[in-house]
Structures are given as structure tokens and as C-alpha cells.
Symmetry: C2
Subunit: 197 residues, 2 copies
């Protein structure tokens, strides 16, 4: 059982139509909120039999956890531009796109907003963010290897400053981003981290 | 009419029980969401006549806008510790308290989360944040006067990096803050802004 679930989370051992199931799960979440999300609804929208879904994910919570981590719409690949500055700018642009471009933004913004209303959803978002920051580690490993930063730099602080500022500006202040927002934010945070390190 | 409403927004010319009305408004918002918030409900909870409330705020939206800006629970005073570093750390501590200590956190976290579901609420939060950043300007004015930063520093970027990282850590990652989180975040952002400036 746990082997199956781990496999599904890595997208390697899920049912054949895993992406369709994940899409339907996130679409329904964005439309109806966590309370309105049901395995029945996911089955109907994805055209996959309900018992197949339950075979892989025993509950709505387990399904949502897998969907958040496995969904292609919420993908954050680790960029490799040759410099930490370039990589972080690329990462920030991806986050901006995720928060501002449909259909991903409908999902991302409603999921992130809804965490404050559902402790269960919040736990899945927590896992999702832990997964995503784990995938960004190569960016920092390469920067250390290139001598751009020291090994003891606080990686999570850097990511949270950048991602958080983007969330503030786009979702809460609802201001258009200046063209050089990503460059200036990365520059500020990186210079500061180097000076502090 | 507009004189009255401006007066109410500044808490100088509202009805006698303005704070009780604002309290009831934000409590109901935290409990029932924007859809569940009604002027009738506010009247009942605050013990103020409905017609009195309507006299000052012609709609639920106008009332909520005034409550967000005027509420003592969401107050962010501009600190004056003698240094920009000290002021920003104090500000960050206030934001952390706001996001983690009840009852303010119930209101703040649910309001900030709900903006993604209600464009009307989002517009009020936007005004609220604009009001709050306007009130922090003395912090930066004094820092410029003391020669700690140059006048052209991007104040909103600094505030958004700091407030955003706090939001990421507390609301989304749901991690306990390290004791020196505020000091390290301020140090990083401030050093970076100086290097860039």
C-alpha cells in the first residue's frame, strides 16, 4: 500500500490517467473549494472509475496531496542558466507566471488562499511547498560549487523573501509588476545574503 | 456625504461606537467569510442600530473598507527605535504577532486568504495595505535623514520582501519562526538594498 502511494506521488506508479485525475482534482478545488471537492466529482470529470481512484488514493486528502505535488500546472523546474542570479530570476518569473496566468493562477491563487480556511488543505500545501523547495536545491548546490555563495547561506530565507514579495505584490496589493521587479528583488536579496554570509 | 465618509475612515467623525462596529464587522468576516457578512449581522452583534450604520457606510463593502483601515486589531504603528534596522525588526515582529496571535490572527489570516475568492474584498484589502504602507513612511523618512539609506531606495520592495517572507513562513509553510528570523530577514534585505542603491 505505502509502496503504491509513494509511487503515485512520484508520478511513476500511478494509474495510467494520473495527470487527468490530478487536473480534475485541482480544477474542482479551484472551482468549489476544499469542501466541494469529492472523489466522485473527480471521477466524473476525469472519466476514470471511482474505484480506480480509491485504489491509489484512499481519501480525498491523499488524492489532493498527490495532485498538488504531481500536477504539471504547478511545476517549478530547477532552472540552470549558469549563474545563481539568473536561476533565481528564472524561478521568480515562473512563480509570477504561476500566480498571474490562467489556468494555473486560478488553481495556485485559490489553493494558497484557501489554506487559511482548511487545516487539512494547509497540511497538503505545506507538503507541496516542501517538495518544491527540495527540487530547487540543485540551483543552490551549483551556486556553492561555482563559489557564488557560501554553503551556509539560508536557502529557505532567500526563496521565501522572493516568493513572498511576489505574492504580496501580485495577490494582495494587486499591482502590476514593474518590468525589472524580478531583477531588482533578486539583486537585493542576493547582495544582502552575501553581505550577511 | 464624502466628508462624512472620509471622517469615518480617519476614525475622527464616525458614530460613537465605531470600534465596536468595526470589531463586529471583522469578527463576522473571519467567521463567515465575505458572503456571510451582512450589515444586519454587524448591527446585531455590535448592538448598534442598522440605520445608524447605514448612515455612515452605505454598503457592506464601504463598512468593511472602513473597518479594515480603522480597526485597532490590525493596527501597525510606525516604530521609532532610532535606527532603520531596529524599526524594520519591530515592524516585522508586529506583523508576526498579527499573523500568529489570536484574535488578530483569525482576522488577518482569513481576510488575506479570502482576497483570492472575492474581488470586492480584494479591493478593500488593497486599500488597507496602501493605507498601512503610507503610515510606515516616517520610518523611511527618518532613515534617509539619518543617512542610513539613500532617498531613492525602493521602500515598497523592502516591505514586501519582509512581510511576504513572513507570510510564506507562517501561513503557507506553517513553520515556527526561528528566534532570529526577523533580525536575519531585515539584515539580508537592508544590506542588499544598500548594496544595490
Amino acid at each position: 500500500m505505502s509502496e503504491k502511494r509513494n509511487g503515485a506521488r512520484r508520478q511513476s506508479g500511478g494509474p495510467r490517467k494520473a495527470q487527468e485525475i490530478f487536473d480534475a482534482t485541482l480544477d474542482l478545488l479551484a472551482e468549489k473549494g476544499y469542501e466541494g471537492l469529492t472523489v466522485e466529482g473527480v471521477a466524473q470529470r476525469s472519466g476514470v472509475n471511482k474505484t480506480t481512484i480509491y485504489r491509489w488514493w484512499p481519501s480525498k486528502g491523499a488524492l489532493l496531496g498527490a495532485a498538488l505535488i504531481g500536477a504539471r500546472q504547478l511545476e517549478l523546474t530547477a532552472p540552470d542558466t549558469g549563474s545563481l542570479e539568473g536561476d533565481l530570476e528564472a524561478l521568480l518569473h515562473t512563480i509570477v507566471t504561476l500566480l498571474t496566468t490562467r489556468p494555473a493562477s486560478d488553481i495556485a491563487v485559490s489553493v494558497l488562499g484557501a489554506v487559511t480556511h482548511s487545516p487539512e488543505l494547509a497540511a497538503h500545501v505545506k507538503d507541496f511547498l516542501a517538495d518544491r523547495i527540495a527540487r530547487e536545491q540543485p540551483v543552490f548546490d551549483r551556486a556553492v560549487a561555482r563559489g557564488e555563495i557560501t554553503a551556509d547561506i539560508d536557502r529557505m530565507l532567500l526563496v521565501d523573501l522572493l516568493a513572498g514579495a511576489t505574492w504580496m505584490r501580485v495577490a494582495l496589493r494587486q499591482l502590476p509588476l514593474e518590468k525589472d521587479f524580478a531583477a531588482r528583488a533578486v539583486n537585493t536579496v542576493l547582495n544582502g545574503a552575501r553581505a550577511a554570509g
